[in-house]
C-alpha cells in the first residue's frame, strides 16, 4: 500500500510540474507593431470614400513596481483597471511586484539588466538605477514629459527630486514622490511635565535638566526608579545614517552639524565629523549618557524594541515617527497602559549658538526608469499615456479601488469606508492587491493623508489625530540634506561606516577618551580609510547633479 501511495505521489508530482509549466504564461512576446509617435498630418486631398480606420494593435507593457503592500501579491487577473487600460489606452498591461527588500530588488533588477531583459518600465533604487544608466540601459525620458502634462505637474516638477535622476545633464528616470518628509521629530510626555511642574525644554541645558527630572523624580508616580529622560537607539545604516543615526540628530542639529554631510556650500562641503562642533555634540550626548538619563539599552536596541520601551512607559522624550507614535494600531498599547499619558511635540532644543534642527530631510524619490529597449521599440508614447492616465482618470482607482465598492467619498469629499463590506474596504487585507500600484500615483495630497491617517477616538476616550502630529512636525526646523541622496557610497562603505559609527559609540560610552587628541586620531583613521576620496567623489557627484553650484 505504501509503495502504491508513493508511486501515485511521484506521478502526481511529475504531472503537476508538467501541467504547471505548460499552463504558466511565458514571458510576453515583444510588440510586433510599435505605436508610432504622433506626427503632423500631411496635407492630402479629402478621400472620396472614408476608409475604415484600421485599429492599432494594443501595446504590451510590462512594469516592475514596488507594491504598496509587498506581501499582498499583484492585482488579480480580473482587476478592473486592466480592462480600462486596454480599452481606453490600448495597452496590455502586465504588472510584476518586486520583492520587499532593497537588496532583493537590486538583485532582480541587476540580473535582468545584465541579461538585457529589463521590462519596459521598472522601479529601481538609486544605486541600481545609476549603474544601469551608466551602462546605457535606461532611456532619456525628457521627450515623454510633454506627453503627460498633468503627471509632470504633480509628480515631476520638484527640482531636488529630478536631480536624483539626472545623468549627464539629461533626465534618465522619473522621480516620483517617495515618502512623506519631516515625519520624525521630538515628542515629550506632557503628563510627566505637568506632574513635575516643568516646561518643555528649549535649550540643551534645559533638556538635560528635564531629562534628569524625568529619570530621578518618579514622573509616573509608581514609586520605582524605572523611567528615563530620553529613549533612543542607533537607527538606520549606510553612509547617510553613519554615527549614532537620526535619533540623535536633534543634538547634532543644536550644534549645526546634523547628518553626515555639510552640504551648505562648495567651500564648506565635507563630512560633518571634521567640524569641531560635531565633537562638542558628541560630548553632550556623552554627558547625557554619563548622567544615566538615556535608556541604557540604547546602543543595542532595535526599532521595535525601542517602541516597546516607550509603550512600557520608560521614556520621557524621544524622536519618533508620527505614524508609529499615533496611528490607531500603534498607539493602542500605550493608551491601554497609560490612559492619562500624553505625548506632545516640542521644538528641537537650541545649542550654544542658537542653532536647532529636528533632523535631516532628504526628499525621497521613487525612481521609475524606462528601458532603452522599450523606447527603441517605440513604446514611449504608450508609457506616457499610461502614466498620465494614472495621474488623472485612473488616480482614484489605483489609489483606493473602485468607488462604491472599495471606498466612497464623504460629505467633505474625503475617502471613507463607512458602510462598505469589510473585506472589500480598500484598507482590508483582502483588498490590498487592488491598490498595489498606489505608490505610482500617491502625491501625498490632503485627500490621501486624510484617508491614510484618519483621526479616531482611543479606548481611553482620547481624541487622536495623527495628522496633527504631522502638522506640528512640519513646522519644526530641519536640515535639508537632499543632495545626500545622490552620493554614491564608496567601495569600502561597510568598513568606512563601521569605523565611523563604532568610534562615536565608544566615545559616548566612555570606552574611548573623548579628547582633542583622540578625536584627531579618529579623523586620521577615517582619512586612512579614504575619507578624503569619498568627499572628493561626493562633491563631484553633487556638482554634476546640480545640488551644489
Amino acid at each position: 500500500m505504501n509503495k502504491f501511495l508513493l508511486k501515485c505521489l511521484l506521478i502526481i508530482a511529475a504531472l503537476s510540474l508538467i501541467l504547471s509549466a505548460c499552463g504558466a504564461p511565458a514571458t510576453p512576446a515583444p510588440t510586433e507593431a510599435p505605436v508610432e509617435p504622433p506626427t503632423e498630418a500631411p496635407e492630402v486631398a479629402p478621400p472620396t470614400e472614408a476608409p475604415e480606420p484600421t485599429p492599432e494593435p494594443p501595446v504590451d507593457l510590462e512594469i516592475w513596481v514596488s507594491g504598496r503592500v509587498t506581501e499582498a501579491g499583484p492585482p488579480p487577473d480580473d482587476w478592473a483597471a486592466y480592462q480600462i487600460i486596454k480599452d481606453e489606452l490600448n495597452v496590455n498591461l502586465k504588472v510584476v511586484i518586486l520583492p520587499g527588500t532593497q537588496a532583493d530588488q537590486d538583485t532582480k533588477i541587476n540580473t535582468a539588466a545584465a541579461s538585457n531583459s529589463l521590462p519596459d518600465v521598472f522601479f529601481a533604487n538609486r544605486d541600481a538605477w545609476y549603474k544601469i544608466t551608466e551602462a546605457g540601459l535606461t532611456a532619456n525620458v525628457e521627450e515623454l514629459l510633454p506627453l503627460m502634462p498633468e503627471r509632470t505637474k504633480t509628480h515631476y516638477s520638484d527640482p531636488d527630486r529630478n536631480k536624483q535622476v539626472t545623468y549627464n545633464g539629461g533626465l534618465y528616470g522619473l522621480a516620483d514622490p517617495g515618502n512623506l518628509v519631516q515625519t520624525d521629530a521630538m515628542v515629550i510626555r506632557k503628563d510627566w511635565l505637568d506632574k513635575l511642574g516643568l516646561e518643555a525644554p528649549k535649550t540643551l541645558d534645559e533638556f538635560l535638566a528635564v531629562a534628569k527630572a524625568f529619570t530621578n523624580d518618579d514622573p509616573d508616580g509608581n514609586g520605582k526608579k524605572d523611567t528615563y529622560g530620553l529613549c533612543a537607539f542607533i537607527d538606520g545604516s549606510g553612509l547617510n545614517a553613519a554615527g549614532l543615526g537620526p535619533r540623535f540628530d536633534f543634538v547634532y542639529g543644536a550644534y549645526g552639524v546634523a547628518g553626515t554631510w555639510n552640504l551648505s556650500s562648495k567651500g564648506d562641503f565635507g563630512l560633518n565629523v571634521r567640524n569641531p562642533n560635531y565633537m562638542k555634540a558628541t560630548e553632550f550626548i556623552k554627558t547625557l549618557n554619563d548622567a544615566k538619563v538615556i535608556d541604557p539599552d540604547w546602543p543595542t536596541l532595535k526599532k521595535d524594541e525601542f517602541r516597546v520601551h516607550w509603550k512600557q512607559g520608560k521614556c520621557g522624550m524621544m524622536q519618533e515617527n508620527f505614524a508609529a507614535l499615533s496611528t490607531k494600531s500603534n498607539y493602542a498599547d500605550f493608551d491601554a497602559n497609560f490612559p492619562a499619558g500624553e505625548w506632545v511635540p516640542f521644538d528641537p532644543p537650541t545649542g550654544p549658538d542658537g542653532a536647532s534642527s529636528a533632523g535631516v530631510t532628504i526628499k525621497p524619490a521613487r525612481i521609475y526608469a524606462v528601458s532603452q529597449r522599450a523606447m527603441d521599440e517605440g513604446k514611449g508614447p504608450a508609457i506616457a499615456r499610461l502614466l498620465e492616465w494614472m495621474a488623472t482618470d485612473g488616480y482614484m482607482l489605483l489609489a483606493f479601488g473602485q468607488e462604491g465598492v472599495n471606498y466612497k467619498l464623504d460629505a467633505n469629499g474625503y475617502v471613507s469606508t463607512e458602510g462598505l463590506e469589510d473585506a472589500a474596504k480598500w484598507t482590508a487585507k483582502e483588498a490590498q492587491p487592488l491598490t498595489q500600484l498606489a505608490n505610482m500615483v500617491y502625491i501625498f495630497s490632503d485627500l490621501e493623508l486624510q484617508a491614510r491617517y484618519p483621526a479616531y477616538k482611543a479606548a481611553s476616550g482620547r481624541e487622536m489625530a495623527p495628522l496633527s502630529y504631522y502638522a506640528a512636525f512640519q513646522k519644526q526646523a530641519y536640515t535639508n540634506s537632499s543632495g545626500a541622496a545622490v552620493i554614491n557610497p564608496p567601495a569600502n562603505a561597510a568598513d568606512f561606516v563601521r569605523f565611523y559609527s563604532e568610534n562615536i559609540v565608544q566615545f559616548v560610552l566612555g570606552q574611548k577618551p573623548l579628547t582633542e587628541e583622540s578625536w584627531a586620531e579618529y579623523i586620521a583613521g577615517l582619512d586612512s580609510l579614504g575619507a578624503k576620496d569619498v568627499e572628493a567623489s561626493a562633491l563631484q557627484t553633487l556638482i554634476d547633479a546640480s545640488f551644489i553650484e
Binding site: S20, P74, P99, T101, T111, N330
Partner: protein, 293 residues
C-alpha cells in the same frame, strides 16, 4: 561469571561526558525555546513587561500563527512550496541516482571524462547571469521548472552517492547480472534496496534546499501565484518591520518579534516532522557515502 565493575575514573569520565552533552543540549534548546516563547507572546504583554524565558501558559497567544496562516496567499504559497519541494526532489533523485550509479561502475567507458565534466561546474560555477540567461532562453521564467532545473544535480550529493554505491559488494551486482538482469534491473532490484540510507540522506538534503528556496524564486518567478512560502514569509516580515508607514497595520494584534519567531517555526515544521523518521539513516548514509572502501 565475570562482572563488569566501573572504576571511579570511568564513572567520573562518564559524568563529564554526560554533563557536556547535557550542556550542549541545553545550549541548543534554549534558543529554540526562546523563539517559541517569543512566537506565543501577546502584544499587550511585550508592551508592558520584559520578555524572559518563561511565559505563563495562561497568557499564551497564537495570534502570530493565526495571522500568518490566515494570510490570503498562505495556502497558495504553501502549495507552491510543496510542489517545488516534492517535484524538485523527485527530479533531483531521478537524475542523481542513475548518474551516481553509472559513475560508480569502474568499467564505465569514459568514466574519468564524465567525472571531470561533473566536477568542472562544481569547482568553477558559471555564476548568476549565465544561469539566468539559460533559464530565460529555455522559456522557463515563471514556471516551477525555473527553480527546479538549475540545481537538478548537486555534484556534492552526486559524489556522496557515488561513493556509497561503490561501497556496495560487487558480488551482489554480479550475481544479479549472472541471473540475466540488465543494469537498470540491477540498480532497481539490488542497489536501491540496499541504499536506503543514502537515498533518504541525499533526498533530505535536496528537500530541505527546495523547502527553503527563495532566492531563485525572486529571480525567476515574477508571477506571485507561483511564489513559495519562504518568499511570502520574508515579505510579511519585512512589511511588519516597516509598520510605521503602514497606516492600517495588518499585524496590529501581535508583535513583530512574534511574527519573526512564528515564521521560523512554521518554516521548520515540515523538516521537524520528517527529520526524526530519516535520522536513523542519516548518520549511516553520510558516513558510508563519505568513505571510499
Amino acid at each position: 561469571m565475570r562482572t563488569l565493575t566501573k572504576s571511579w575514573d570511568d564513572i567520573f569520565f562518564q559524568f563529564l561526558v554526560n554533563a557536556f552533552l547535557l550542556t550542549l543540549m541545553v545550549a541548543v534548546l534554549i534558543p529554540l525555546w526562546r523563539v517559541f516563547v517569543m512566537s506565543i507572546t501577546p502584544l499587550h504583554y511585550i508592551d508592558t513587561k520584559t520578555l524572559g524565558l518563561w511565559l505563563d501558559p495562561r497568557i499564551w497567544s497564537f495570534e502570530a500563527y493565526k495571522q500568518l496562516l490566515s494570510h490570503p496567499s498562505f495556502v497558495r504559497a504553501t502549495t507552491n512550496s510543496f510542489i517545488i519541494t516534492l517535484g524538485g526532489t523527485v527530479v533531483n533523485m531521478l537524475l542523481t541516482v542513475p548518474f551516481a550509479y553509472a559513475l560508480s561502475n569502474p568499467d564505465l567507458p569514459g568514466r574519468k571524462f564524465f567525472i571531470t565534466m561533473a566536477l568542472i561546474p562544481f569547482l568553477f560555477n558559471a555564476g548568476l547571469i549565465p544561469t539566468y540567461l539559460v533559464v530565460q532562453k529555455m522559456s522557463l521564467i515563471d514556471t516551477y521548472w525555473a527553480v527546479i532545473l538549475p540545481g537538478a544535480i548537486n555534484i556534492y550529493n552526486l559524489l556522496v552517492m557515488k561513493s556509497f554505491f561503490e561501497g556496495l559488494p560487487d558480488e551482489l551486482k554480479e550475481a544479479a547480472r549472472l541471473d540475466g538482469a540488465n543494469e537498470l534491473q540491477v540498480l532497481w532490484h539490488v542497489v536501491l534496496p540496499l541504499s536506503k540510507p543514502i537515498l533518504l540522506t541525499v533526498g533530505l538534503w535536496y528537500a530541505v534546499g527546495h523547502w527553503n528556496e527563495f532566492f531563485n524564486a525572486i529571480l525567476y518567478l515574477n508571477d506571485a501565484k507561483l511564489q513559495p512560502l519562504p518568499l511570502l514569509l520574508r515579505n510579511i516580515l519585512l512589511a511588519a518591520n516597516i509598520n510605521e508607514y503602514v497606516e492600517y497595520d495588518a499585524f496590529s494584534s501581535a508583535p513583530v518579534s512574534a511574527f519573526r519567531a512564528a515564521s521560523v517555526f512554521l518554516t521548520m515544521l515540515p523538516i521537524i516532522i520528517i527529520y526524526p523518521r530519516v535520522q536513523r539513516y542519516f548518520t549511516k548514509g553520510t558516513l558510508l557515502g563519505g568513505v571510499k572502501q
